[in-house]
């Protein structure tokens, strides 16, 4: 089972878990801050709304709902 790091915390997830599901599962409710500073989280779950953007392995604005967890992945929310 893949082990990933979310905001410095290590979590183990089942195979075929999306990063968005892993973030919610880890109890993190804010994926990103909106342009006025509101906490936001995944909405559409299918890569349309861009609310689930996080930094994955250093790449900003990655769509967490469209990305599957891979062992060693580092995820940062804001």
């Amino acid at each position: 089972m893949p082990e990933i790091t979310i905001d410095g915390r290590r979590v183990t997830v089942r195979e075929q878990t999306s990063v968005a599901a892993a973030i919610l599962q880890a109890g993190v409710s804010s994926f990103r801050r909106s342009v006025t500073g509101e906490p936001r989280a995944a909405l559409c779950g299918m890569g349309i709304c861009y609310e689930c953007r996080v930094t994955i392995d250093g790449e900003p604005h990655a769509l967490s709902c469209q990305t599957l967890c891979v062992d060693g992945m580092v995820v940062e929310t804001t």
Binding site: S18, A21, S34, R40, C44, G45, M46, C49, Y50, H61
Partner: protein, 380 residues
Amino acid sequence: MKIVIVGAGPAGLAAARSAAEGVARSGADVTLIDGNHSTGGQIWRGGGAPEIETGVATLLNTRVASPDLLTFDKLILATGARELFLPFPGWTLPGVFGAGGLQALVKEGLDVRNKRVVVAGTGPLLLAVAHYLKTHGADIRLIAEQAPWSKLIRFGAALPSRKWLEALRLWNPCFSPSTWVTEAQGTTHVKSVSAGGKKIPCDYLAIGYGLVPNTELPQLMKVDPCALDEYQRTSNPAIFCAGEVTGIGGVDLSIVEGSIAGYAAAGDVEKARAFFVQRDRWKRFGTALAEAFALRPELAQLARPDTFVCRCEDVTYQELVAKASWREAKIHSRCGMGPCQGRVCGPAVEFLFGWKPDSVRPPLFPTPSGSFSMIGNEPQ
């Protein structure tokens, strides 16, 4: 001959199957492109999609931001649909998801055991989602369907028996017609919602007001996915459209349209014609769907002056209400100009203010600048 299919949901998969069968003798090649990491589209996300035929090349994790890099003899656009979201106070809170959105997250690993969930919006998807979440351990507190019983009964009477059995299997006593969510409460996460004059504590709200066809790519290619000939062909004889992009009609219609488009693109018109009767039947289902689940005008009154309508650029209702058009709203407020490119707020402002969508321009998705350097340098 090269047949390219964009979208690997029910319509795209059916198109790939029939195109591969149709061209098997001629040795043509069929390529299926999808932005997701797996085939199946949204309905078969996380499993259930039919196997890909041999002879079909699949290109996953690939979004078509512009048709410039597509080379084809025949192109089938099966870009599907997205959920319709309508703004109401609290809809931007974490814990508020699309109805299909929450289901997608559960399919991909979110554990909803003992979570209190309110499912709301409109359409047959609500019962299906509630059933799915319940079987995964969720505590469904309410299913708020905005349509009234009278319309639902009329819709039910027109359903084929197979759909009736499905509805019975999915039935949930929390189902409440003529009910809609007027507000979600919470500070950093949803804590409760107001619906039907009651406040209902919950951990998640799953809300969707039906589906919106993803017409951006056909629009960019200057074809109308609603103006097709009997073979699903657009005004450009090389381009076909199939599935929800042509209008919302459900999975059965999508499969039939995909089959017709695939055979027709491969030149096997006789096999395509064999599906015409089925298509007529499922089109009637689509019409009944639109009538039964038409949105009530009260839903356009939920947003308050300070409610965000555009979530990408945080544009409020009061910034938009006095504007004359989508164009004017964009120029003055940046509404619809964020990363989702108006895919969420566009259909919402059409319902709220009657604004028609503006023109579509490439790239259709936020695209890394490096991708542009490939244009003109693509491998042959």
